[in-house]
């Protein structure tokens, strides 16, 4: 390992920083990952409480726990929170923590930009939730269809909070997207060709491409909405010649890739967990990778299947229907590959594996109901009913959330150095699986017998009473399972078993270094010989091939020579300036101008922070 020369000047290397300020100014991908994970879990709880209130309201007919307006606010914030503030940032927590470790890098390509992404995300999330403080909670549903959001039908600031909040969150996601694409393409350890990248890394790469290509569409959609609301244009107003359908198109051009942004990280996690606990390489790994790419690519060509009920005409309906059915093929391929991985393996039934198995089963059911409404005539029966609610909870909760919990049980020892309790983990899994199916399976039936989504109450004589009550009971079983998880985290924090570097006999590079990893991750950058590099080092390829050479044991002076980027406060300052500017649109244009100038100044300082010293590293 030659000179990994002065990364940047300032704080040297190995000693860990402590205290609040060190977290605010951190540029360490592992700390930023923990920040993402913690914030996202808190928002997951908030979104969950919103869901519980809705389920309580719907438990019995003619209930009066909350009124219609409050109910609108609850389902809008529940959807927005779960999509943008829970699942996406929980995935981002794993991207941040695991991507550099799994590709054998010391950090992401742009550490300060990474920190900036997090602070902008947090600012956007807090901005969105500030709507609760001023009593103007967004109330037009998480996809905010036009006309529900027009100034005529949505006076007040409800929609403004949603529109500007999503805009801020979009900036955060796109910045992170650029960062991770560059990191994955350009920061891989020597020898890690694209086809040797772990499947989780591949899925991350596909997701980041979806982020940077899909978010511009919603950015434009929100900009047009902003002009409609603030500056009197008529983009979505039929009275001025505008077409509300344009919103639907632009939103779903973003929204459908977004669905894959939510599910592909979980697919990547499952593709790491199954081989580890079956002690077999992922069955047909290249095919799993190609399928992921295909899903991402097709994801841009199916958006109008969310819009069959608006009457696009037979040609458009057929085209989007066929594309949607096609996308089921690579998805099915993946499911077969995961099952093939388990087949004949030496399976260890850990909590992480249980959650992955839960993912496969629940996601398959969600996929099947998805293929059902790929057919426009069927979709017309199901659209806007509880059947659709059941479908997307099977893919996003049964899929994404189960996958993410699998990742938590799998990587917790790596991130915190202690093992989550397996017994509590099993209790958590079974409670969540039972509660989940109690809650959402009856919704298929409720939808088919005609219960529309987004109604705040219903009459007692419609035959919906029993299954609604069952769903409400189920939702509290889910809540109980989450409580068990929190207890597990608490117990692990107090007295969990120490994990050691490689508790699962892992396959990929993150298990080659201590748990939790040192600031610099790898004392010596490894050289990679295959997809399951660590497994090859430990056990060879299983066909008589010799194990890969192990990296040399690093010397103390090598470690002392590692320079990591120093902390910086410009990311958080820039994020605040940007939020002040955008929040000014609700307060005063003076604030917009002042915030805008502050943003420009902070960007300049951010860009110039290491201008000279970094360049002098050459000489």
């Amino acid at each position: 390992m030659a000179t990994h020369a002065a990364f940047m000047p300032g704080v040297g290397s190995a000693e860990a920083q402590t205290g609040l300020w060190s977290w605010i100014t951190t540029v360490d991908h592992k700390r930023i990952g923990i920040l993402y994970g913690t914030s996202a879990f808190i928002f997951f709880l908030i979104g969950g409480i919103e869901a519980l209130i809705m389920r309580l309201q719907l438990a019995v007919p003619d209930n009066t726990l909350v009124g219609a307006q409050r109910f609108n606010e609850l389902f809008t914030m529940h959807g927005t929170t779960m999509v943008f503030l829970a699942i996406m940032p929980l995935s981002a927590a794993f991207f941040n923590y695991m991507v550099p470790l799994m590709i054998g890098a010391r950090d992401v390509a742009f550490p300060r930009l990474n920190s900036l992404s997090y602070w902008i995300f947090l600012a956007g999330a807090l901005f969105l939730h500030a709507s609760f403080l001023v009593g103007a909670v967004p109330d037009a549903g998480w996809f905010g269809y036009a006309n529900l959001t027009s100034p005529q039908f949505a006076p007040g600031h409800h929609i403004d909070f949603w529109m500007l909040g999503l805009q801020i969150l979009g900036i955060a996601s796109m910045l992170a997207g650029f960062n991770f694409i560059v990191t994955i393409i350009n920061m891989r350890a020597p020898g890690m060709t694209l086809m040797r990248m772990p499947v989780f890394i591949w899925m991350t790469l596909v997701v980041q491409f979806l982020v940077v290509l899909a978010f511009p569409a919603i950015t434009v959609a929100l900009i047009l909405l902003m002009f409609d609301r603030f500056f009197g244009t008529m983009f979505y107003v039929p009275a001025g010649g505008g077409d509300p359908l344009l919103w639907q198109h632009l939103f779903w051009i973003f929204g459908h890739p977004e669905v894959y942004i939510l599910i592909l990280p979980a697919m990547g996690i499952v593709s790491e967990v199954l081989p580890t606990f079956a002690r077999k390489p992922l069955f047909g790994a290249p095919v799993v990778i190609y399928s992921g790419i295909m899903i991402g690519f097709f994801g841009f060509g199916v958006w109008s299947h969310h819009m069959f009920s608006v009457g696009l005409g037979p040609v458009a309906d057929s085209a989007f229907s066929i594309a949607t059915m096609l996308i089921a093929v690579p998805t099915g391929v993946k499911i077969l590959n995961w099952i093939g991985t388990l087949w004949g393996g030496t399976v260890r039934f850990t909590a992480a594996l249980y959650f992955s198995l839960g993912f496969i089963a629940m996601f398959t059911m969600g996929g099947l109901s998805g293929v059902m409404h790929a057919a426009p005539p069927v979709d017309l029966q199901q659209t806007d009913t509880y059947f659709v609610v059941a479908h997307f909870h099977y893919v996003l909760f049964g899929g994404s959330i189960f996958g993410l919990f699998s990742g938590m049980y799998y990587w917790w020892p790596k991130m915190f150095g202690r093992m989550l309790d397996e017994r509590l983990g099993h209790v958590h899994f079974w409670l969540m699986l039972i509660g989940f199916n109690l809650t959402f399976f009856p919704m298929h039936y409720l939808g088919l017998i005609g219960m529309p989504r987004r109604i705040y109450t219903y009459a007692p004589d419609l035959g919906w009473n029993f299954w609604n009550l069952v769903a409400t009971i189920g939702s509290f079983v889910i809540a109980l399972s989450i409580a068990v998880f929190i207890a597990n985290v608490w117990k692990t924090h107090r007295s969990g078993a120490v994990a050691g570097p490689d508790p699962w006999d892992g396959r990929t590079l993150e298990w080659a270094i201590p748990s939790p990893p040192p600031v610099y991750n790898f004392a010596a950058i490894p050289t990679v010989h295959g997809r399951d590099e660590l497994w090859l080092q430990k056990h060879g390829d299983g066909h008589g091939g010799a194990p890969s050479p192990r990296p040399p044991v690093p010397r103390a002076e090598d470690i002392a020579a590692i320079h990591m980027p120093p902390p910086s406060y410009w990311p958080i300052v820039l994020a605040i300036a940007m939020t002040v500017m955008l929040a000014g649109l609700l307060i005063s244009y003076t604030q917009v101008v002042v915030g805008g100038l502050a943003t420009l100044y902070c960007m300049y300082r951010f860009a110039m922070e290491y201008h000279r010293p970094a360049a002098e590293a050459h000489s």
């Binding site: 390509a109 002009f227 983009f235 010649g241 295959g530 399951d532």
Partner: protein
């Protein structure tokens, strides 16, 4: 799974000296800029798509070919193309460490960018004052002003960027070691130019 023998080309563990150069030999910042430009293609794609979807669907007000001043816009297009030439010349000089000429070309690029923005301000004022075409007059007004306005904002951002680089060069804080920084500013600048090539043809020229 390929055996361990396939150590291949990557086996030589040479750490690059420049922390910005990754294992592919490419510069992180340049790669990041290209990905940003790909993303920006989608941004302008959505805006152009909106304009075209609404073309000819205004309920009232003047239409595109009542108001467009094609000779003026052609001049703007030529000004922006010329600025692109100045930009590559600036980069070329700075790569050769000829900072004096490089700075001059950077300034020329920025000034031509300003010229373009000035033309656009004039054009917008003409539409508003002589044709009474305002942002909220019609779908055409809305989609035209938003699309070209966001392009103009991109140009303005580029001008600020170039002026800051020029100032650094004048203060002796920019030399051949910073060529990549000039290069990515150039990539952004040329991208703004090609967006205008598309807008010029699709919005202004095609009847």
């Amino acid at each position: 799974m390929s055996g361990p023998a396939a150590g291949g080309h990557g086996a030589v563990a040479v750490a690059p000296h420049d922390p910005n150069i990754g294992t592919t030999g490419l510069d992180n910042r340049k790669l990041g800029m290209w990905i940003f430009l790909g993303s920006d293609c989608m941004f302008f794609g959505a805006l152009i798509g909106t304009y075209l979807a609404y073309k000819g669907k205004s309920l009232s007000g003047p239409g595109p070919h009542d108001v467009f001043n094609i000779p003026l816009t052609s001049l703007s297009a030529a000004v922006l193309l010329a600025s692109s030439l100045f930009m590559v010349l600036a980069l070329h000089d700075i790569q050769r460490n000829d900072i004096k000429h490089g700075a001059r070309w950077l300034l020329a690029t920025a000034l031509f960018g300003l010229w373009f923005v000035g033309n656009q301000v004039y054009e917008f004022a003409e539409f508003v004052i002589y044709y009474d075409l305002k942002l909220w007059t019609s779908l055409f007004g809305s989609s035209f002003f938003v699309l070209t306005g966001f392009h103009g904002a991109h140009v303005t951002g580029g001008v600020i960027w170039l002026l800051l680089l020029w100032r650094l060069a004048k203060r002796g804080l920019l030399d051949a070691r910073d060529a990549t920084k000039v290069e990515i500013a150039g990539l952004y600048w040329h991208f703004v130019d090609i967006v205008w090539i598309a807008i010029f043809t699709v919005i202004y020229l095609i009847p």
